[in-house]
Subunit: 366 residues, 2 copies
């Protein structure tokens, strides 16, 4: 059959990197004999400017019908001061999509690219070979707990608050995602929490431990407190494999691991409504680079497209069930980096088009 892809460039550099990603998507689909049908639409500020909402019902409906959604990045100072009452799903288009699609399983890999070791702050022997996968719970926790808001107190002070919460079932399903991912990798899961302080963290740790013990005795599980984990991962990234965390801590650790790749612009993500299992393509996943919309460099053609191109690789692997196509894209990226090309966020001077063309030329079916 034909895979339906919805492409949402978003704001600032978002459309620039999505255009690059779509070029790779089309060429790899051709090379691997996959039929794809691509539709483009608006998200974020770009949608606000036209429709007065950050995500229209039509886009949400198209996303629900798609096999995969490619997103660039949303937001920018133009839309920062728009105040809308209501939950975060109204104020952030990407968040609305995440919730509508119930994509709770955010997979965020980061690796040390051989050609980029000297672009990281690390000594070579500390970082080479580092290969991490953050599995982030992406549909619950402090992002969505209700009630939340602000109130003026009797003494004139303001109080702002939100709820941090987890239910057993939410933790169970993301724990399984991490254990499944570890089976296809190094076989180690490190689960992060503040169970010494947070009630939700205690439930998190107990539940992850139970699922590990009962369903994945073949996987090595370790629990670390989040504070110590930041030190331990930053100091010795080679010692870790899968890092499992809740929505907030997963957000934090997935930026930290970008240090081993040299730049945030290198990081892809796949956010799925189910666990990723070899041979079981998942419909309705959201694929996006983890970097932001970078208003400061938008329109200059210098954005690093690699995070988006690697997100397209994840789409082939998890969305279309074609890991070989994913490997072909990763190898093309590897060759281009080895040839010395580098965008400005890695200290180089090669623009979006130069990097993308080089990757397209180096893409060979494996």
């Amino acid at each position: 059959g034909t895979f339906k892809v919805l492409a949402l460039g978003g704001d600032h550099i978002g459309p620039e990197v999505v255009a690059a990603g779509l070029q790779v998507l089309r060429q790899v689909a051709d090379q691997f004999g996959v039929a794809v049908e691509i539709e483009e639409d608006l998200l974020g500020g770009a949608s606000w400017d036209v429709h007065g909402t950050f995500c229209t019902d039509a886009v949400a409906a198209k996303a629900r019908a798609a096999d995969a959604i490619l997103v660039g990045a949303v937001g920018g100072p133009e839309w920062d001061n728009i105040r809308i009452a209501g939950p975060i799903t109204e104020t952030d288009g990407l968040t609305r999509l995440r919730i509508e699609l119930d994509v709770y399983n955010a997979l965020r890999p980061a690796r040390a690219w051989p050609a980029l070791l000297h672009r990281t702050p690390y000594r070579q022997e500390v970082v080479e070979g580092a290969d991490l996968l953050v599995v982030r719970e992406n549909a619950g926790g402090i992002y969505y707990g209700e009630p939340r808001g602000r109130e003026v107190l009797g003494d004139g002070q303001e109080r702002a608050f939100e709820i941090s919460e987890y239910r057993t079932g939410e933790v169970e399903r993301i724990a399984r995602c991490a254990f499944e991912a570890a089976r296809g990798r190094g076989g180690h899961v490190t689960s992060l929490d503040k169970s010494n302080v947070m009630e939700s963290g205690k439930l998190w740790r107990e539940t992850v431990a139970r699922i590990g013990r009962e369903e994945y005795p073949d996987i090595q599980l370790r629990h670390l407190l989040m504070d110590y984990a930041l030190f331990a991962v930053a100091r010795a990234p080679q010692e870790f494999d899968v890092l499992l965390a809740d929505n907030l801590f997963g957000d934090l650790i997935s930026d930290l691991v970008a240090v081993v790749s040299g730049a945030l612009g290198m990081l892809p993500s796949a956010t799925l409504p189910a666990a990723a299992r070899v041979g079981h393509p998942v419909k309705g996943g959201l694929y996006e680079p983890t970097h932001g919309s970078a208003p400061d460099i938008s329109g200059q053609g210098v954005a690093n497209p690699i995070g988006t191109i690697l997100s397209v690789a994840m789409m082939f692997e998890y969305g279309f069930g074609l890991p070989a196509a994913a490997r072909a894209i990763e190898q093309a990226v590897d060759r281009v980096l080895a040839a010395g090309l580098a965008p400005p966020d890695l200290g180089g001077t090669d623009g979006t088009a130069t990097i993308t063309q080089a990757i397209l030329r180096n893409l060979h079916p494996i």
Copy 2:
């Protein structure tokens, strides 16, 4: 007058490093002509085993009466499964002390020691000269918001939750602490939050911005999202000066910055009930290394005492108003490290006593 110091070793390596810290405290007090009166007592598991509580009322009263409190570290697997109903102040002795003393201003410095650059994961040119101060709000936020707890839902699932919250006044007072600290240092404050997701983070950012604008126009203020900040600080620690954060994010960033020092065992802290201003000693501060009780190495005489010894330096500076004594201790540490001594957490073989004796021998009034 005589300064009254309460020393609470706590558990496992806690009493070992506090003993080292007290040796330095006594010698420096002598050398600088300061009269100190030291009383020792129990905290944490050590208190539980004798009194059935992690912090007795008597210890809390002594702490309130003291000029400064030196704490080692609390906790260990022996006490992990003790379940006590009630707020976190009942289940954690150190937390009770923090709240009783209203020490909301946690100052956690981390620097790159010239002799230890090769013990960090960084290339030398990335880390040398790094000199950071985390200013952590330590009496509010998600640690203490009420209600919190666990409940069984209709469908049999459990739900665990807590409140994350801040009031204007809480943010104002810690913001002033960060700006005051920056005046005595590099003049830069970077404030961390997730204001794009958390209501308390929005209030945090607005309030810090207002205090900076109205009261500290001489200080440069930058706001960073916490996720990006972890990447930015880990990648280029030299670019930062004072890092201001709420209780949870301050906990996290203060472990991360330990990477520039080479080990968690190097980090001191001072947690004060007021801003630290040059020439204004603060009564009732709590001084402790940021490392934990390390049950795995306790009783072996190998714990790194430097975090505690540097906490004693902070006591002389902030508690007794004697920055010269603090500088003398820091220089002694520097000389000992330059001579090549290193405890096991830094890859060396020198035990607690060896390091402490060497520091005592190198302590000269400046």
